[in-house]
């Protein structure tokens, strides 16, 4: 995956450069002598920039061979569809977690993930996520560990079951 390596190398180098400039905002307060708070991270950011560019340049110098990992970026992106959907599910889950609450959001998240991973049996799709989440929620609730209850109707569901 040379193209991906180039993109990652470039992104790392740009981010490191941005952070290097940002590090100038760290004031030298409290350090009359010795090394200030900004010096060490700036040194590391320079190293990250150089090494990232080294990785990028390295992809051009590498001899091309019939390497199976050396596929086109487009093919690679297609292969990552499932992972991309998985990440999307997790992002949506995190956005709604505090509103919908742990109980309902997690049951739904588990069901969607299981479907994504190819589970087709309807009974398993309903029973496993529900029992697993109920058991975990009950255990944590009884242990006094606060989990997001959600708001409105979702909060009511939680309190009806465990309150």
């Amino acid at each position: 995956m040379e193209k991906l390596e180039r993109i990652v190398g470039l992104v790392f180098a740009i981010v490191a450069l941005g952070l290097f400039i940002y590090a100038g905002n760290i004031s030298k307060f409290g350090m009359d002598k010795g090394v200030g708070a900004e010096v060490w991270p700036r040194f590391l950011l320079v190293l990250i920039m150089l090494l990232s560019l080294g990785m990028l340049v390295g992809t051009f110098l590498k001899k091309k061979g019939p390497d199976e990992n050396n596929k086109e970026l487009g093919v690679w992106i297609k292969e990552q569809k499932k992972i991309g959907l998985g990440i999307l599910i997790l992002v949506v889950y995190l956005f709604v977690l505090e509103t919908v609450g742990f109980l309902v959001a997690t049951i739904l998240m588990l069901i969607v993930f299981m479907i994504l991973l190819g589970l087709k049996k309807k009974s398993t799709l309903i029973i496993v996520p529900t029992i697993l989440t109920l058991a975990i929620t009950y255990t944590f609730y009884k242990m006094g560990v606060p989990l997001p209850l959600g708001s409105g109707v979702f909060r009511q569901i939680f309190l009806t079951l465990f309150g």
């Binding site: 990652v8 409290g30 900004e38 090494l51 499932k82 998240m109 997001p148």
Partner: protein, 495 residues
């Protein structure tokens, strides 16, 4: 001797013994399931142990580490898929032997040689760690800075595919460790106004993200259970004659394993492959390797479990982790308020010796469990990933959230999960990253303190003969791969 006795009594306390057994069982299960790993299980369980006493908690983690290193061989033998990377070399002969209808013998050899390797490394740990700690008592900030730097340089010279990528990975880890409040001046660094970042990057979200989320997403293309060669397998120990035949292979492998474990790096995996290569090199019949011979199982298994004990030597004595899993453990120790390093054996005698003696028991436990219960552990290989994967994600979310009861940490976990995926795709090794994250604060604080105390960088670096020797070793370790590369290129040109 008195300390060893304290360790024995501590490790035999019912609560510690209970968590040792539980840890070994969890370890074998997660080790056996491809897509799960010891560090993943440790990271997921760290939040659950916050309320626990540090001794049973760390014994539990140690037992997971030992159990998972052995557990990897179960799927390597029965599925030809290593449950952990450390068991990859075991596939070569273990699965071949299983295909010949001798899966039980392969598992028995793996269990026995793993236990022998593990016990040997525990003896080395027991003898060497206190001595090393004693020696390190006189260390000042410069020596600690160089030790941490040695950890980073060693990991970039060992086992990794590319030194440049290992260094890049380590530097990213070191940089992320600078986020938060500066320990010397109290200034906020790279927090972007986020209050939650003032305490620094949460170690647990990072670990869970890198080990659990990355692993689960990376395994997304596995949809169903792979066919098990022998689901009703019964472990058969090698006979005395067979053991005598492989004794030198086991002996050499446990020494290689322990030594590689002591050096900071990808301990168990590198140890297993090095031992396999050495066993093949020194064999009178190297052509038989890969066809299902006991030496081919004994070499990697004795070595990978020996690397576990070996990795604890620098972790406990110096606070420098000997492997990625040991780095995770070091983070767990810090979260439990235990500072690893020379003073551990003086201030926390009960803890230090208790954990070491418990490791002996862990090795005996997985041997017993390996002999009598492998057929039940093999059953877990039947669990579909489509159920297991989402369940791991749920536990990852739960473990991260309950740390500080905020969703920000889960976002952080997801960020590290994605970073781990990208790193995996471009072959940036994770071990140097974790080491950088763990050793970052130690490296920076001691460098800055050394410069303050000795009035300048040069004075600090030349402050003592020990520091100079350690610096020479560090530079040597960093330059070794470059030297080897040039040497290989010259040799190729000559040919």
């Amino acid at each position: 001797m008195e300390n060893i006795w304290i360790g024995i009594t501590t490790s035999l306390e019912p609560i510690n013994l209970l968590f040792n057994v539980f840890g070994v069982i969890v370890g074998i299960i997660v080790g056996a399931i491809p897509g799960m790993s010891g560090p993943m299980a440790i990271a997921l369980f760290i939040p659950a142990t916050f309320a626990m006493d540090p001794i049973p908690a760390v014994i539990f983690f140690t037992a997971i580490y030992c159990g998972s290193t052995f557990g990897g061989s179960v799927s390597a033998i029965l599925l030809n898929i290593p449950g952990t990377s450390a068991a990859a070399a075991t596939c070569l002969d273990g699965n071949q032997l299983a295909k010949q209808g001798m899966a039980g013998k392969a598992l028995g050899t793996a269990a026995l040689t793993s236990a022998i390797g593990g016990v040997f490394s525990c003896v080395v740990l027991l003898l060497c760690a206190p001595l090393l700690a004693d020696f390190a008592l006189a260390f000042g900030p410069t020596e600690y800075f160089v030790l941490a730097a040695m950890g980073i340089s060693a990991i970039s010279s060992l086992g990794a595919q590319s030194q440049l990528k290992s260094l890049l990975s380590a530097c990213i880890g070191l940089f992320l460790a600078t986020i938060g409040m500066d320990a010397l001046t109290g200034q906020a660094r790279f927090t972007f106004g986020q209050m939650f970042l003032l305490d620094g990057i949460g170690f647990i979200p990072a670990l869970i993200g890198l080990f659990a989320i990355t692993e689960v997403f990376a395994s997304f293309n596995i949809t169903g259970p792979v066919e098990i060669l022998d689901s009703k397998v019964k472990t058969v120990l090698p006979t005395v004659a067979e053991l005598l035949k492989i004794k030198w292979t086991v002996f050499k492998s446990m020494i290689i394993g322990t030594w590689v474990g002591i050096l900071p790096g990808e301990g168990a995996t590198v140890a297993a492959f090095l031992s396999y290569a050495e066993a093949m090199r020194s064999s009178k019949t190297p052509e038989k390797f890969g066809t299902g011979i006991l030496e081919g199982i004994a070499a990697p298994e004795a070595a990978n479990n020996a690397a576990v004990g070996g990795s604890y030597v620098p972790t406990m004595a110096l606070g420098i982790p000997g492997s990625a899993t040991a780095a995770v453990l070091l983070g767990a120790l810090t979260l439990h308020g235990i500072t690893a390093g020379p003073l551990l054996f003086i201030n926390q005698t009960k803890f230090a010796y208790g954990v070491i003696m418990a490791m002996f028991i862990s090795n005996a436990l997985f041997l017993i469990l390996g002999i009598f219960t492998t057929r039940y552990f093999a059953k877990v290989l039947d669990i579909r990933f489509s159920i297991l994967g989402p369940a791991i994600i749920m536990f990852a979310v739960l473990g991260t959230y309950t740390l500080r009861n905020n969703v920000f940490d889960i976002w952080l976990m997801l960020f590290f999960g994605l970073l781990g995926l990208v790193m995996r795709e471009v072959k940036l090794p994770v071990a140097p990253f974790i080491l950088g994250l763990v050793l970052g604060p130690m490296l920076e604080i001691n460098l800055r303190r050394g410069i303050l105390v000795h009035d300048g960088l040069i004075n600090a670096l030349l402050c003592s003969p020990v520091a100079i020797v350690l610096e020479v070793i560090t530079v040597g370790m960093a330059l070794m791969p470059i030297y080897k590369g040039i040497k290989a290129r010259v040799r190729n040109q000559e040919i």
